[in-house]
């Protein structure tokens, strides 16, 4: 159109106006919901607000990573539940990843038996509902294990019964902070050595001898620090007192079953991601690597996996998110996670459903966003490998 354009013919202005309008619609929609909820709660005389977080909780929790007693506040109970969720999610992700990668590679193995075992595992575990697996691990394990008085014992220092696993606790006589720092020093120095070796290899092609042992530093440094500073170590052996074992370190069966169920289940899915990732790397890559004289293991490690990772990481992120969210099934077997403690017991004692669910949702959302963030960062990092 040659004449002066109408404002709605200006694409920028138009887009802006539409976006503004949509934003406004969504905004007022949310506002209406919130306003309506508050009005209804008031009309029904249901308590509202977040003040309840400071009131004493009054109930006990079986597993607490931070100090908690019945007199602690609901806010503190929230923290306990959150940490318990985090604990099982982080360890679960770790175990599931290792198991999943192993299974995924095993399924592609040229060894018939290995491949079949992996296939059967994946197909069975992937297709049985997680909740059933959870009950299986919990009740099957509980029933199979003896009562505390008839515990299975290992050299009379470690015990296994249906109340959990008990091992001697190592109590440090001396400054734990220094030991923690020495672990850090070990990690940093191992990392620096690795980096140096890599640069060296890229520049000169020469392989620094013994670099594969660098991760050992993570253990060696603290041990040296421990010896040098003449710290003592005392073992506290669990012993049967009254109804159960006291002292030592213990894992409750709820935690063990939840961890097993979550990581075995998720591993089956990760295995499939890994398999598809590996299959996505074209065969020519293997052949080319072989033509260069590389052996099978380095081919897998240096050629296939780095390229496969680019395909694996995005769905892997989803599996990590799934595992974290699935951990909320904990309530079925009494593992005191966020959902069980906070949106279960606390919600029920206070009746403040809206606030409690809002907090719980926010926490899961933040956890998921954080996981995505980390994985996206890692993904970008890996994607750069492409040339």
């Amino acid at each position: 159109m040659p004449s002066s354009p109408q404002p709605w013919n200006n694409p920028k202005l138009r887009a802006f106006a539409i976006q503004l309008a949509v934003l406004f619609v969504v905004g007022s929609f949310v506002w209406i919901i919130v306003d309506n909820t508050i009005t209804n709660l008031q009309r029904q005389n249901i308590a509202s607000g977040f003040g309840f977080l400071e009131n004493p909780a009054g109930f006990g929790i079986a597993l607490t990573l931070v100090d908690y007693t019945e007199q602690s506040s609901y806010g503190r109970a929230l923290l306990v539940g959150f940490l318990n969720t985090l604990l099982v999610a982080v360890i679960g992700i770790f175990v599931a990843t290792i198991l999943g990668f192993t299974l995924g590679i095993a399924r592609l193995s040229s060894n018939w038996l290995v491949a079949k075992i992996a296939t059967v595992y994946i197909e069975v575990v992937r297709n049985v509902p997680l909740l059933l697996q959870l009950f299986f691990w919990y009740f099957a394990v509980l029933r199979a294990l003896p009562l505390p008085r008839e515990s299975l014992s290992l050299l009379e220092v470690a015990f296994l019964n249906n109340r959990g696993i008990y091992v001697p606790a190592l109590l440090l006589e001396g400054n734990g902070l220094i030991l923690g720092l020495s672990v850090l020093v070990g990690i940093v120095s191992a990392w620096l050595i690795g980096r140096y070796a890599k640069r060296r290899r890229l520049e000169t092609g020469e392989i620094v001898k013994g670099v594969a042992f660098a991760p050992l530093l993570i253990f060696v440094v603290p041990v040296l620090a421990f010896l040098a500073l003449d710290m003592g170590l005392k073992a506290e052996v669990p012993s049967l007192q009254g109804f159960g074992f006291k002292g030592g370190w213990s894992l409750i069966p709820e935690f063990v079953s939840l961890l097993l169920a979550l990581s075995f289940y998720t591993a089956a899915f990760i295995a499939e991601n890994v398999r598809s990732g590996i299959l996505a790397v074209s065969k020519g890559q293997t052949e080319a690597a072989r033509a260069l004289g590389l052996k099978p293991t380095p081919i897998l490690r240096l050629v296939i996996i780095p390229q496969a990772l680019r395909v694996i990481i995005p769905p892997l992120t989803s599996q990590y998110l799934n595992l974290t969210k699935n951990s909320s099934l904990a309530v079925a077997i009494a593992y005191p996670d966020l959902v069980s403690v906070f949106s279960g017991t606390v919600l029920n004692q206070t009746g403040q459903a809206v606030e409690v669910i809002a907090i719980t949702m926010t926490i899961y959302l933040s956890l998921s966003l954080f996981t995505s963030l980390v994985m996206n960062w890692y993904n970008r990092h890996m994607a750069l490998v492409e040339r």
Partner: protein, 372 residues
């Protein structure tokens, strides 16, 4: 985008916007109420839309319109509320629900049941999914106030007890120092355990499940030394154990658990109907009126009985229901004593004696204000 399309899109957006903004002014009135009341089958938890949950219409009107009373019950607690193989519910909590239906409709069968876990029950009542909660629920101050509910009576006076395996040789709760205790989440039980062990300086650790069946299974598998809940619950859950003779209920009762029906706050008429449905059953027992003799009793000269059975006066009318409300309750459900003996009494598998739940004149606590 086509140029001629734009004004149409803008109009649509503005229209939507206006709709959303103006909606609250019209909503909340009578117009929105049937929409909520009619959504029987919809999952109330999924009710995210800004529809007002509280209707301005009375629960009685909604119940009448719908044609039946919706009661929240347990997920299966024999004696209190338990479905049989064909899905028919029975027990003293179910009887109370049936009494309300008989009072309102003259037909006890016009009642339906929603099984709820301890955790779900209050939300279900608050959101209007059920009309009355008759689910072995303890009346406590918080529940009566902050939760927006009203408890209207006590149909079973209870207290919290403990059960242990006989082989442990434990004779008293005081010997449970260091024990692992299994129970349900979202109950008063959870709080009482904490109070009890702490105030007696005893160590314990708690394993709390959402569903009773899991509590029983875990206790049966030996995960915990003791199983604690309302004493009535112990009698009842004990029947689910593999061999219940291997277990003993300890003599101590560590709390007061007055179990009774609850309704939403703010509908006094409905609260009255539920309250008096329970009282009518107690009053009938006291006056000697049973499901068998209620018909004949209508010709008696005893004024209290005549009032109760609606022969004299207009007491049903005051409640907003038919005058023969109590007569229907008694003939179709029975009096409190009949209901008790049928559900949990000494001749049932639970075998619970009347104890605190005897009538006041027999040394118990069940007492009805006069119908007059």
């Amino acid at each position: 985008m086509n140029n001629r399309l734009l004004p149409a899109v803008l109009a649509l957006v503005v229209g939507l916007l206006a709709g959303f903004l103006l909606y609250p002014m019209f909503a909340g009135g009578d117009e929105a109420a049937p929409a909520v009341a009619a959504s029987d089958d919809a999952d109330p938890q999924a009710e995210a839309a800004p529809l007002p949950v509280v209707t301005s219409r009375s629960t009685l009107d909604l119940v009448r319109e719908r044609g039946y009373v919706r009661c929240g019950v347990s997920q299966g607690l024999p004696g209190f509320s338990n479905p049989n193989d064909s899905g028919d519910w029975s027990g003293i909590d179910v009887d109370l629900c049936r009494a309300v239906a008989a009072a309102v409709f003259g037909d006890a069968d016009k009642s339906r049941y929603t099984p709820l876990s301890a955790k779900e029950r209050f939300t279900a009542l608050q959101s209007g999914e059920i009309d009355v909660l008759t689910r072995n629920t303890t009346w406590s101050l918080t529940r009566d106030t902050a939760l927006g509910l009203d408890f209207v009576g006590i149909n079973y006076y209870d207290g919290q007890g403990f059960m242990v395996r006989k082989e442990l040789g434990v004779k008293s709760v005081m010997e449970l120092d260091g024990a692992v205790v299994c129970t349900n989440t979202g109950t008063t039980t959870e709080l009482n355990v904490a109070d009890f062990f702490r105030s007696n300086g005893l160590a314990y650790s708690i394993v709390a499940f959402e569903k009773s069946d899991e509590v029983v299974a875990a206790y049966d598998a030996g995960r915990c030394d003791a199983f604690t809940t309302d004493a009535s619950g112990l009698y009842s859950e004990r029947l689910k154990l593999a061999d219940y003779n291997d277990h003993v209920v300890l003599p101590e009762i560590i709390s007061k658990e007055p179990l009774g029906p609850a309704v939403r706050q703010g509908d006094d008429q409905w609260a009255d109907i539920v309250r008096w449905s329970l009282f009518a059953m107690v009053e009938a027992e006291e006056l000697g009126v049973t499901s068998k003799n209620a018909g004949d009793m209508r010709t008696t000269q005893n004024p209290a009985i005549r009032r109760l059975l609606g022969v004299e006066g207009a007491f049903g009318q005051n409640l907003g229901i038919p005058n023969d409300w109590a007569y229907k309750i008694i003939t179709q459900v029975g009096n409190y004593g009949e209901s008790f003996e049928r559900g949990v009494g000494v001749n049932t598998p639970l075998g619970i004696p009347r104890g605190l739940n005897a009538l006041w004149k027999d040394g118990g606590l069940q007492y009805s204000p006069p119908v007059r």
